[in-house]
């Protein structure tokens, strides 16, 4: 009885199975496959060769050495000095004074905004996960929804769901390219359906460049989405964390990155409805800092988010490092160029191996750290991923909420040795378990949760 009364259990709200009720124990142990597998048994070539190689976590593991050298060298040269002031509250609260200035300058240079971004429009917290939560709480009430297309980053449902209590509402694309302006019709359908179900959608959320498809939205689609939001009186959030992680893959007709901020909003959307997420965790491979920013012209939203920033204050150390990196424009240029080159190489290396193994993937991409691979010939999903895990390969089933079952995000931004070994294990294990080409034509709107349980 002691254990029952120790914590509070609130009644489950009307959310998909994965959202948490307050006070209940960690769902990592309760919901199968909620988190990327292999977390406490990760592969290391020397110390843990039988560990799990995870393809499930989108971290750019290609450039940490360069970061380390930058910081170490510049520590001596006093560029990345950790000033004693960095140990105080005011240096880093909401980003402090200097970081927003550096970030504004960086974004003005790289995002080509229609109107220059002011430092006062940037709020910085300890990671974008926190920004998601606070923006969710400020724009919507428990039970409301955020509308996304699919496939999409799976952890939005945690970020917006856990404490903010929001649902992620997924569009059904019905074969329409999610990057074409026509996708707006699917958004409208989902919006209306959701309203009929009693879940009020308060915002759409796009990831641009896209996770997991690794493509950029063309300006025409961004404009169409803006109009859609204005017509339905909702907000538009553009998560642009992979903005600079766009590289040459030979797909010359693919659009490169266009920020939602670079589009003239006149006649499309009220500027106060448009909000951008950005940070240093992807483009700068600095997930360990961590620093995440909300960029918004909406003063009310910024104020509402600021009210809860106390729970998500960035570290003074991280702010000092972030400032040093962003202010060194020569380093940023070199670093981004290097990162792009390595990402392109890893992608090419991976696609060659997948081609040889006849594993299909969404080939049309030029951004991000991942490929979206089709493992449907190796259904069912659950036993499939368990087999892979047993063989030391981590993939995260159903995480991206794809409409067609059997697709997985494969993160290739790892060191060459690990990537080679991981792909070898993947191909080998799949080779043992192929069940033949399963016909899936009838399955248009399969829910991944069914597959997970089946």
């Amino acid at each position: 009885m002691v254990f029952l009364s120790l914590l509070v259990t609130r009644s489950l709200e009307l959310f998909p199975i994965r959202n948490l009720a307050r006070g209940t124990t960690s769902f990592a142990t309760v919901i199968p496959w909620r988190f990327a597998p292999g977390g406490n048994n990760l592969y290391d070539k020397l110390t843990n060769p039988s560990g799990v190689i995870s393809f499930g976590t989108a971290e750019n593991g290609l450039v940490q050495d360069e970061l380390e050298v930058f910081v170490a060298q510049n520590a001596c040269a006093h560029h990345v000095r950790i000033p004693s002031l960095a140990f105080t509250y005011r240096y880093s609260t909401m980003g402090g004074l200097r970081f927003p200035i550096a970030m504004a300058a960086h974004m003005n240079e790289c995002f080509k905004p229609y109107r220059p971004i002011e430092p006062s429009q940037i709020l910085t917290g300890s990671a974008l996960t926190s920004i998601h939560e606070m923006v969710g709480m400020s724009l919507a009430d428990p039970g409301d929804g955020i509308l996304v297309s699919r496939p999409i980053y799976g952890r939005f449902e945690l970020d917006f769901g856990n404490t903010a209590g929001l649902s992620i509402v997924y569009t059904d694309n019905e074969g329409i390219d999610p990057f074409s302006p026509e996708i707006v019709h699917q958004y409208q359908k989902a919006f209306d359906r959701s309203a009929a179900d009693g879940v009020k959608v308060k915002a759409i959320l796009i990831v641009n460049p896209h996770n997991p498809l690794g493509r950029c939205y063309p300006a025409s689609t961004l404009a169409a989405l803006m109009k859609f939001c204005q017509q339905n009186c909702i907000h538009m959030i553009s998560d642009e964390v992979y903005a600079l992680s766009v590289y040459d893959t030979g797909a010359t007709d693919l659009p490169t990155f266009t920020s939602a901020l670079s589009i003239d909003p006149t006649g499309l959307i009220d500027v106060e409805r448009l909000h951008i997420f950005y940070g240093m965790n992807k483009d700068f491979a600095a997930a360990g800092l961590p620093l995440g920013s909300l960029i918004s012209r909406n003063e009310l939203l910024r104020k509402a988010v600021a009210a809860n920033m106390r729970f998500h204050s960035p570290s003074g150390m991280s702010i000092a490092i972030g400032i040093a990196i962003l202010e060194d424009r020569a380093f940023v240029k070199r670093f981004i160029a290097l990162s792009r080159q390595r990402l392109a190489e890893c992608r090419s290396f991976t696609t060659q191996i997948l081609d040889r193994a006849e594993i299909k993937y969404s080939g049309y991409g030029n951004a991000g750290f991942f490929l979206y691979v089709d493992l449907s010939p190796w259904l069912p999903v659950k036993s499939n991923t368990q087999n892979l895990l047993d063989a030391g390969v981590g993939v995260h089933p159903c995480e991206e909420h794809g409409e067609i079952p059997g697709h997985f995000r494969l993160v290739f931004s790892q060191d060459r040795d690990t990537l080679t070994e991981g792909l070898r294990r993947l191909v080998h294990t799949l080779g043992k378990h192929r069940v033949g080409a399963r016909v899936l034509n009838g399955v248009k709107r399969a829910r991944c949760t069914d597959d997970r349980l089946g």
């Binding site: 002691v2 509070v8 124990t25 960690s26 570290s315 003074g316």
Partner: protein
């Protein structure tokens, strides 16, 4: 636009507008560059730490090493009844998020956390903003927070809250006390624990000032006793004892943003871990924090240096107060502040200013000094917390002069 923000968002907004809820964003005093700027006595930070002493490593020390280093530190300094182990410690990006997570997991919106007053004013934000818990201030009736009789006060407050339909989930103490700057005697702690055991609620002990006991050597000065050092047998279930600690106060390292929950309850720990994605500590901070804690010689000398400077700051402050004939609470031997009585200087009472404190605070601001009115929820009006450690001694003297 009425649809612009959610109801919650609007509420959060109004929270920022409450008069004097936060320290005013006025330009800060600097002897050379901004001599007419504001001197804040409101923030409890220690800034004077020798910059060269900090080691820096970019290879993230990770989540396995820091908790062990912290456990070792706690075992050395808090004399826990049962040694603390690394797996009983959850590290987040500050103690503020720790409070948020505890609140979300032990209470439902509208439930209460019972405190004596005066107390740290921002608990109501920390437990209130997201977790939506109420801080219930017990009616003190002249009782001192450290007196064993406080339990009767708690009992009364507990019953009154229950009758009013508020479920109390925990007693929350800050030990050493903020703002009173004194430590709870072990006997009082035992009685409080007994009370919590009887009523089956949590005891949350915020011990962030544990090592900031500078003791001017009063005979009656009570040294620090951690709740962890008391044998809970027969008093309360050890799984209901939650201790919070961090590196912001004792180590003057608020910018590291490292705070810990120390708990024997695996259930609570796991429930907080499920939310840790919103409050992960930073890699560089973990690296620095680990380096500090593992270097026990440095830690000891740092803490001694802090205590010496706190004593000096306290002396400067109390001397200035005495010279000016301003009353202050005697017996302070810990923390970063002196609690002073400015009731003779209060402004007239009005609807907008029911205790006359806002006018006084405004007058002080106009003259370049900030003290936070009503922040500690003292029953008697006119008391203010003076943080003397968040600035160098010259600025302190200037601030006191003003």
């Amino acid at each position: 636009m009425s649809t612009l923000l959610s109801e919650r968002g609007e509420e959060n907004l109004t929270g920022l507008d409450i008069p004097w809820r936060f320290a005013p964003p006025l330009p800060r005093y600097n002897k050379d560059s901004n001599p007419s700027g504001l001197i804040l006595f409101s923030s409890a930070e220690i800034v004077k730490i020798p910059g060269d002493a900090f080691l820096y490593s970019f290879s993230s020390a990770g989540g396995s090493r820091f908790p062990n280093a912290m456990a070792s530190f706690l075992n050395d300094n808090f004399r826990p009844f049962t040694p603390v182990t690394g797996d009983q410690i959850l590290t987040a990006s500050g103690v503020t998020p720790i409070e948020d997570m505890i609140g979300l997991n032990i209470g439902d919106p509208g439930d209460g956390i019972l405190v004596s007053s005066p107390i740290y004013g921002r608990f109501e934000l920390d437990f209130g903003n997201e977790a939506r818990l109420k801080i219930v201030y017990a009616k003190m009736k002249g009782m001192d927070s450290f007196d064993v009789g406080i339990v009767e006060i708690f009992q009364e407050a507990f019953e009154k809250a229950s009758q009013a339909g508020t479920k109390i989930r925990a007693v929350l103490i800050s030990n050493p006390s903020n703002p009173l700057g004194q430590c709870y005697p072990p006997e009082t702690l035992k009685r409080i624990m007994e009370f919590c055991g009887r009523t089956k609620i949590h005891l949350i002990s915020d011990e962030v000032y544990a090592m900031s006991v500078f003791g001017p050597g009063y005979l009656e000065a009570v040294p620090f006793t951690s709740v962890l050092s008391i044998d809970p047998t027969g008093l309360m279930d050890p799984e209901y004892v939650q201790v919070m600690y961090g590196m912001s106060k004792d180590f003057g390292a608020a910018g590291l943003r490292l705070g810990c929950l120390i708990t024997r309850s695996k259930q609570l720990l796991d429930a907080c871990i499920s939310l840790i994605r919103f409050h992960n500590p930073a890699g560089p901070s973990i690296a620095i924090g680990t380096a500090i804690l593992e270097d026990k010689t440095f830690t000891a000398s740092l803490l001694k240096s802090c205590r010496d400077k706190l004593l000096k700051g306290y002396s400067i402050t109390t001397r200035a107060l005495e010279a000016a004939g301003i009353e202050y609470r005697k017996g302070t031997n810990a923390g970063l502040f002196v609690y002073i009585d400015l009731s003779p200087y209060l402004g007239p009472i009005s609807e907008a200013d029911p205790r006359g404190e806002f006018e006084l605070a405004q007058c002080l601001v106009d003259h370049g000094v900030f003290l936070h009115p009503g922040e500690e929820h003292n029953e008697a009006p006119g008391w203010f917390r003076v943080s003397f450690a968040s600035m160098d001694f010259e600025s302190l003297e200037e601030g006191l002069r003003r």
